[in-house]
């Protein structure tokens, strides 16, 4: 039975209390994406300033729980200033850590052997830096949606920019 300390690590509480890159960028020129978690009412607004294959600036607004807020803050710190493909790779690694099953909420691991999907590929947590603190969220399946909220908005924003 996972305890609260797995979820509420110190880094997470710190980013929750003092979120980095808080706010919105003027849009245009920045690109603006909104994300909702219909299950709990959390909302996030991600503003992206992308140029020359680089995520030059990112800001987050909105409101939500400690997990969605700190995940957004940790994300912004990790991706700001990075080339887009590095950002994409980070997203991939992060979402793999979050076990990719978040869309179904109840995920396969818990419903018996014959329900199990192929094992997810192992994640090289070292690539994630401070983001690794969010690993404990996986033990609380309902909270995975909180942790991935801003990441999904970021992905959507990058996709929209790529196809624009």
């Amino acid at each position: 039975m996972p305890g609260l300390e797995d979820l509420y690590r110190e880094i997470i509480l710190d980013h929750y209390r003092s979120p980095r890159n808080r706010g919105e960028l003027p849009s245009p020129p920045a690109h603006r994406v909104e994300g909702f978690n219909p299950l709990c009412g959390d909302e996030v607004v991600v503003s992206l300033d992308v140029a020359d294959g680089q995520l030059r600036d990112i800001k987050l607004a909105g409101s939500g729980c400690s997990i969605s807020q700190s995940s957004g803050s940790l994300m912004s710190a990790a991706v700001k200033g990075k080339p887009i493909d590095e950002v994409r790779e980070l997203i991939r690694v992060f979402k793999t850590m979050m076990s990719v099953h978040e869309a179904s909420l109840g995920d396969d691991r818990t419903t018996g052997a014959e329900d199990s999907p192929a094992e997810p590929e192992p994640v090289d947590v070292s690539k994630l830096g401070e983001l690794a603190a969010l690993q404990g969220v996986v033990k609380f399946p309902v909270r995975i949606k909180c942790a991935t909220l801003s990441w999904n908005a970021l992905t959507q924003g990058l996709d929209e920019l790529a196809s624009a």
Partner: protein
Amino acid sequence: MTVHDPIDVEVIRKDFPLLTRTVHDRPIVYLDSASSSLQPRQVLAAMDHYYETTHANVHRGVYATAEGATELYEGARRKVGRFIGAPDPKREIVFTKNATEALNLVANSWGRSNLAKGDVVVLTEMEHHANLVPWLMLAESIGLSLRYLPIDGQGRLDLSDLDRIVDGAKVVALSAMSNVLGTINPVPTIAEAAHRAGAVVVVDGAQSVPHLPTNVTTLGADFLAFSAHKMEGPTGIGVLWGRAELLAAMPPFLGGGGMILDVSLEGFTPAEPPWRFEAGTPPIAEAVGLAAAVDYLTGVGMEHIVAHERLITTYAIEALHERLGPDCTIFGPPPGGDRGGVLSLAYRDVHAHDLAQVLDQFGVCVRPGHHCAKPLMRKLGVTATARASIGLYNDERDIDTLIEGLNHVGTVFG
């Protein structure tokens, strides 16, 4: 003054198997009855007995079990009808899959045949999405004008402008009790004004029917919707009560077996209500379970349930205030006659999701979120609350554990 509790909670709790389970090594404290109540073993036994001795499809069989199943199903209809004081239980109770389908049925069947572009529908600012989205969908489709009865600072409906707001309305649709604020709305007063204005009154009783004695006539309702799973019954069944004349004039909602008088390759003739509105194989075992739930509630006594829940609600509000002071906010009216056992809480600036997570470690089940009332959340200036809601099996100790958990939130989020 000590108030006598007419319910012996220790005895009641023995009927609810789920209350014997532990969570994180603590006894479960179930404070989420507004989402879905627990089921007493009597309800489960009735459904098992049905499946084990009498299961068959209804309405079309002459053999013994089919006849038995039909009798149980139609008997459930009458029992539910009497429970809410329906003048004609046999013809006025439609079984649906949940309260939501019941409200969609009204908006679609009655709505599409009685409303036209520009017609006014009055709702309230505290409606559950179930009594909001069907009207928004209808508005999008045929072009209605929606008006909202506002709420005041204590989470009550502000009726100062009632007559003007309902003036010219074709429908007034409102919840009898808020699933966020616990407010018990003055439906009879509003229904009277609505009827004076010529409107039809649709009451969302999802929260009120399980917790208050209900009589559709004194309520002044033309339609009443509710769900079994919030009143100690099973999932998978809801109820629409409608006045016989209204139902009789309504076109079918879903089409299929059981709701027709005749079908050809060119068209069909619908059956009489209530069968007209029950397409396909109905929730038979669920109707049996709902009837057993009604027996259970009636056995305990709805008056006793009200008194007990009011006692616990008052205890909760006072204890939260006394022991947590300004750290804890409770939305909705103060204890009193129009205060039901739904407590939407905020604790400092900790998000509802985090509150519920910490409380879970104490075995306490509360629900975080917008409770399917996003417009109300915006009005309250929050995105979510943590909602503790009270059922007939809750007692003071449950509230004490809730407060113990909330105190621990302070420690985690310091």
